[in-house]
Amino acid sequence: MEAWIRFCKGYVRCKLTGCSQERFLNLCRVNQIPLYHVTSHPHGYVLEVAVKDFFKLKKLLKKSDTRVKIQAKYGLPFLLVKYDKRKWFAGSLLLGAVILLFASRLLWSVELNGTVSHTQDEFIQYLKEADIQKGMVLNDICCEQLEKQIRSDFPDLVWVSVTKNGTVLKIHVEEEKKTEQDAGSEDCSDLVAHSDGTVISIVTRKGTPLVKAGDRVQKNSILVSGCNLLYDDFGNEIGTDFVRADADVVIETKLPYIENMPRSYENTIKTGKEKTCFSILTGKKILKIGKIPDHFNQCIMEGHQITINEGHLFEIPIRIVIEKYHEIMKEMALYTESEGAQIAQDRFRLYCKKMGKKGFQLVDKNVKIKVNDNNILAVGDVTFQYTANSLLPVRIPDENEEEGTVQVWD
């Protein structure tokens, strides 16, 4: 430590020659001038003395009839003089290190995992209301308290974990899993058809089936009833049991498919001229470098954003956006026959994919594509199979009501 302090203050190494060198050492001692690393050499002593004390030696040298010659200079004052032209570089490095040190104590990112029914924006708004936002000191955030607060304000979350990882606040939650049984497990409901079609197969687990394989059904017709009639040994009806109908009923349905698109389209051609612009974003502040040239009549922009150290422990809230502007020309063009057919096929595939998400499986298709002068036409019909899962609730009648009446709610 002492060596560092000496280095910061600066010292010189000198050679002492003359008559009474020991007297000089004693005079330094009496005048409280510390000396370091004094070594004996054939022609004199070599010693180190602080820069400030060196200027006090003149009188002592005269008294002891000795001479001193500087051999080397060490320390920060000499370094600063030597690298005077580089001082701004060193200063900015130091400033950058200080800013980094300061910024590492603040919150710059919030990571949320495990939410399904609650959106990220909802949570960010909630955190803002709880006074937790980007740029605040990390030590001011108490993770345990925040966990308790989230658990009390969101009763459907069964588990909450809040941790601080570098400058990122990680919130991991787990929601209560609702099974199909939980949703109205005590309700009585009928299984109805989604759309018109033919029943392919039926496997009943609960309820009374009203259709069999091969029957034609219409939209919203009851397939499996939730009301089970109870009979005694003699075949007399003694009561009704109300359950939630549960069965696998596979229905095949044929749907028409018509798609009409124009054959002409606006084609964008790049002229080859382009310009790159940069933007630096920190929070809400934007610094834009470069602008779109005035002679670009029309242009399109390709851009991408770089976040420094994204996803890592120390995410710096500085984003660099690189935007490339291309000058374009627009002209009307016609799809060729093969291009038109390809587009129609892509659209049909997209339609089947959407139907697939709704539970409709493609069985057969009979679609013809025609490419005319002005438009592209795809006409035909498509056969789908789906498993009925629409439930219609049935109100269980009270004891005061007349027997045999069941009201079906829409």
Partner: protein, 93 residues
């Protein structure tokens, strides 16, 4: 004579009252670390210094430190640190 009497009296009082001798009698303090370093306090000055021998003035006698590659690591008003290969420490009248 009086001076000698006063000196004897001081020594006796220091011993009987168990007072620190370096403060009362100006005795030299040596703190030796192995054979490589020695810290000296309560000395009056350097009489001779070379890489094989250092002679210091302490109270009314002299202290000789002999060895090789001797170097004064730091030399303050009240403390002296000597490093090197120390072979002999002796008092000379």
């Amino acid at each position: 004579m009086n001076r000698e009497k006063r000196s004897n009296f001081t020594i006796q009082m220091t011993e009987k009252l168990e007072l620190p001798k370096d403060v009362m009698l100006g005795a030299v303090l040596l703190h030796i670390t192995g054979r490589s370093q020695i810290e000296i306090e309560n000395f009056n000055g350097i009489q001779y210094f070379s890489s094989q021998q250092i002679i210091l003035k302490v109270s009314d006698q002299r202290l000789e430190i002999a060895g090789s590659q001797l170097e004064i690591k730091s030399f303050y008003y009240d403390q002296l640190i000597i490093t090197g290969k120390i072979e002999k420490i002796s008092y000379i009248r």
